[in-house]
């Protein structure tokens, strides 16, 4: 057991529990300057420093543990706080004012702060302890679920509240058929009314989530492991996994054990000044029962931490019942409620809007005289939430035309300017930050982005719901002070991408060193270097191998880095058409170099697991068989996907494969602000999914319809129609203009859909530029594109034929060893990289890891 060193001249404050509330207590304690007077010691039972539990599902979907941290361990050290993790407090001796931890630490305290939080409530259903039943509460829970469901097909989530719905979505995204079981007659019974609940249910069902209401669990079935669940009504639902998210239970064991008073149904009985029945012990957060209630949201828990700190500092403070407003993006469905959501009390008027076609539902309660907003529920589209919430929380006078409240963001009438808010209007209710605080911070600190606001004021660091409001406020303040809001590339270049594009072109700048000496400062970074490389390639078609030092690793090695540090190789297969002989070559190369092979979403074949020194050898064999680089590693044209079209298909209107090949060969190697994908479908059935691409061509009887600016990915967007029934030559002409205009004007790493969304005038403007030549640019755009098409070269060939470049393809400079730390494990007759190490905290560092 390591010993704890404390200043013997200071009294000690002990915090039990290192969740979000415990951390917030420490932060406010430090801010108050109390570290000069006291030792502060925090005990946590989890192995981590405090993390953000509100965003736990982000961890499930891939966010790093480190990114969820409230503060790094070093923050505690820097502030002189003693943080002891993986060591829960097991005993409190109130007479001696002394605690004992599980590892045997014994410490005396002046004040003890219980921030033990809550645990998942697990209903006492027989069989609930079987293997395969989980709760959804901690990082460990999520890790356990992840590893258990690998070969499972069907999951049940018990509980249709906030967290239950998040859990269901995460399971569904992992490929399990998922059902939500709710005891109440509607989803989110504490936040939504009946109509709101049923609108939400419909939305979830549209996403293929099954919802069962009015279901009481009777028995968990299975011999050792879960095989199903039986309900009180006799129905049996077969399933492989059960995740319980049926509410929370305050962690009051420790308080109970030392004889503190508890509420009838649990929770540490606590007065509004956050003191328990022992005047040396505070209780804050979800373990505390204050105003006869457990407060399960971040904002009120933070308030309690603030009250406790003030009391310790000898100030007056009381916790008052908080507003339980919530806004969530649940499963891609907006849900929000605020104020009095059930319209309790007399003399209230209801405003209701429901659009069954789109699944939008809004219900607002206003005072009898129509002057004030009292509360509301929004399902489907909560874009108006921030405006409505401000009207409500600041008791602002409502407009004469109350209908405008229902349509604030759709141009329906209500003009709302954030600058009109009173200075004491609370913008961030988690941290209790007012509009005045934020405006002052922006003006005095010369702040220009949201990150700075968060850092300076802590606004937006809790639930994050006020971020759009912060953005509006930032823009409004800057605009009012006459400052331009400009998106510069990074600290080295005070230009936008478009400005830099023009500078490079006009001044004929051809290398990074020249560019940064003329227009930038410092030594560049991982943002501006690849951007400059992309500009040089887009403007001069400078072969990438000639500027390898400013390329991201994928472009530097002309292959895609994968877990374990190996690379994958994707030869171009235009339009997805390939001869049997070429297929055989790919198979032979994959066998020879022991590569894992997979068909990609873009109708080609990816070869995984190549070591760096093998890349030129693999390319040589592929090039000899007539292949070229597929540019899968670049921000450049990837593939033009096609369906088989009129040559074979009985429905086909045009020869979509031939056209896709022609287009892919025209634009291959084209460097752009982000990756580019295209598609050509032979008829309206759209088997090539062309409307999910940056450009999509769909054959018609008379020619082609051209769609632009779609994408798949995290935010799927359908491409929109640019031109109808045009011939092949016109299609290519418009494509040349469209692509070149995008390449010239888009921001860094901005795909076409986002670019179009930000383009002033939208698709109408784009049509005018590309079709009507409203800017007089078309001849130039076509000319620039033709120049790029004419100077295309296969980068793999350039790399293998240039001895100096080729010499880079080795791991060590001083050894022929391949040096890789690659470890592979077998899978379905092939191989894949071993899993990433599970993160320890903190990770041991050093060079002592053998090759």
């Amino acid at each position: 057991m390591s010993s704890i060193h404390l200043n013997a001249n200071k009294a000690t404050i002990l915090v039990v529990g290192n969740g979000m509330t415990g951390y917030k207590f420490c932060e406010k304690f430090v801010d108050k300057g109390l570290m000069e007077q006291y030792n502060l010691v925090v005990f946590g039972e989890e192995p981590w420093a405090a993390y953000d539990r509100v965003h736990l599902t982000d961890y499930y979907t891939g966010t790093d543990v480190h990114d969820l941290k409230m503060a790094p361990r070093s923050w505690y050290e820097d502030n002189g706080i003693t943080l002891i993790t993986s060591d829960p407090v097991v005993n409190i001796n109130r007479d001696e004012k002394q605690i004992t931890s599980s590892r045997g630490h014994q410490l005396n305290y002046k004040y003890l702060v219980l921030a033990t939080g809550s645990a998942a409530f697990v209903p006492p259903v027989p069989g609930i302890d079987k293997t395969g039943v989980f709760v959804y509460r901690t990082i460990e829970d999520l890790d356990n679920i992840k590893s258990y469901i690998k070969d499972k097909k069907d999951a049940v989530v018990i509980g249709g509240g906030l967290l239950g719905l998040e859990a269901a979505k995460a399971l569904m995204d992992d490929g399990l058929k998922t059902s939500i079981i709710e005891f109440a007659p509607r989803l989110m019974p504490r936040q939504l009314d009946e109509t709101g609940g049923s609108v939400l249910k419909q939305k979830l069902e549209d996403l293929k989530l099954e919802v069962k209401l009015n279901k009481s669990s009777k028995l968990v079935l299975g011999n050792g492991s879960v095989t199903g669940i039986e309900f009180a009504d006799g129905e049996v639902h077969n399933t492989d996994v059960i995740v319980v998210s049926a509410g929370i239970r305050p962690r009051d064991e420790l308080a109970r054990q030392c004889g503190l008073q508890l509420g009838e149904r649990g929770g540490i009985l606590t007065t509004p000044d956050t003191l328990t029945s022992d005047s040396s012990i505070f209780a804050i957060g979800e373990c505390a029962l204050i105003h006869n209630m457990i407060w399960g949201l971040v904002a009120p828990c933070y308030d309690m931490a603030d009250v406790a700190v003030k009391r310790i500092a000898g100030e007056e403070a009381e916790f008052s019942p908080a507003d339980l407003s919530t806004k969530l993006k649940l499963i891609g469905v907006d849900v929000a409620s605020f104020g009095d959501v059930f319209g309790e009390g007399d003399g209230r008027k209801e405003l209701v809007y429901e659009n069954k076609a789109t699944g939008n539902y809004k219900k607002l309660f206003v005072s009898e005289d129509g002057s004030k907003l009292l509360g509301g529920i929004l399902v489907g589209d909560a874009a108006d939430y921030n405006t409505l919430f401000q009207l409500y929380s600041n008791e602002m006078k409502l407009p004469e035309n109350l209908d405008s409240l229902l349509f604030t963001s759709d141009g329906g009438g209500l003009e709302f300017n954030v600058l009109d808010l009173a200075d004491d209007a609370v913008i961030c209710s988690c941290e209790n930050i007012t509009k005045g605080n934020i405006v002052t911070a922006i003006e005095e600190g010369d702040l220009t982005n949201i990150g700075q606001i968060k850092k300076c004021t802590k606004a937006g660091t809790g639930c994050g719901g006020c971020a759009p409001m912060l953005n509006d406020l930032m823009d409004a303040v800057l605009k009012a002070s006459g400052k331009e809001v400009k998106k510069v590339i990074c600290e080295h270049f005070a230009y936008t991408r478009q400005e830099l594009y023009d500078l490079v072109k006009v001044e004929d700048i051809k290398d990074f060193s020249d560019l940064i000496h003329k227009h930038g400062k410092g030594q560049g970074c991982e943002l501006c270097k690849p951007l400059a490389a992309s500009l040089f390639a887009s403007i001069y078609n400078t072969p990438v191998p000639q500027q390898s030092a400013i390329q991201d690793t994928n472009d530097r090695f002309l292959a895609n880095i994968q877990r374990g540090g190996s690379y994958s190789v994707v030869p171009r297969i235009p339009g997805g058409e390939i001869t049997p002989d070429k297929l055989i070559v790919i198979g032979e190369v994959a066998k020879k170099y022991e590569l894992y092979t997979k068909i990609t979403g873009g109708q080609r074949i990816d070869l995984f697991g190549a070591k760096v020194h093998e890349l030129p050898l693999i390319w040589e064999e592929l090039i000899a068989a007539g292949f070229e680089s597929g540019h899968a590693y670049g921000k450049s044209l990837r593939t033009v996907k096609s369906c088989v079209g009129s040559t074979w298909c009985r429905y086909g209107q045009q020869d979509s494969v031939s056209f896709a090949i022609e287009i892919e060969n025209r634009y291959k190697g084209l460097r752009s602000p982000h990756k580019l994908k295209g598609g050509v479908s032979g008829c309206i059935r759209e088997c090539a999914e062309a409307r999910g691409k940056d450009f999509g061509i769909i054959a018609t009887e008379k020619g082609y319809n051209l769609y632009v600016c779609g994408n798949g990915g995290a935010n799927p967007v359908h491409a929109v129609l640019l031109a109808t029934d045009i011939d092949a030559a016109t299609t290519i002409k418009y494509l040349d203009r469209f692509l070149m205009y995008y390449i010239k004007t888009a921001g860094p790493l901005t795909r076409t859909a986002k670019w179009l969304a930000q383009l002033e005038g939208g698709i109408d403007h784009l049509k005018e530029v590309v079709i009507d030549d409203s800017l007089g640019l078309c001849a130039q755009l076509e000319n620039d594109m033709q120049g790029l098409v004419d100077t295309y070269q296969c980068e793999w060939r350039t790399a293998v034929e240039n001895p100096q470049h080729r010499s880079q393809y080795r791991h060590f400079i001083n050894s022929e060893e391949d040096g890789s730390s690659l470890k592979f494990i077998p899978m379905r007759g092939q191989k894949r990289p071993a899993d990433w190490v599970k993160e320890e905290d903190p990770i041991a560092i050093g060079v002592g890891v053998s090759s």
């Binding site: 790094p72 501006c528 030092a549 880095i561 040096g819 090759s851």
Partner: protein, 121 residues
Amino acid sequence: MSIELIESDKQVIEWFAAGKVEDFPVDAGVAVKYKDTQLAVFYFSDSNKWYASQNLCPHKLEMALSRGLIGSEGEEPKVACPFHKKTFSLKTGACLSGDELEISTYAVKIEDGIVKIGITE
């Protein structure tokens, strides 16, 4: 012959000859094998400075830093891991992108056209 040392309070126990200056990439990094471990060496042409660090990125434990882009943050020379763009100071080894990570850095000197890395304990 120029000698560039980075600030370090550790005792150099060996100057390891990694290779000839002309074999090293300019404004980029490369991996060097030292006993059973891997180091990364970086050369900044603009300031004519050399830096060395562990090749292992402490984030996901990949031997990857030598393949990362280099540059500066303020006055601090840095490298960005190619996997998730965690950035590290090549002077102090501190993580500059806000994570609780750190790398070991080493002094580099050039003698008779040979790049030498100051191995510490």
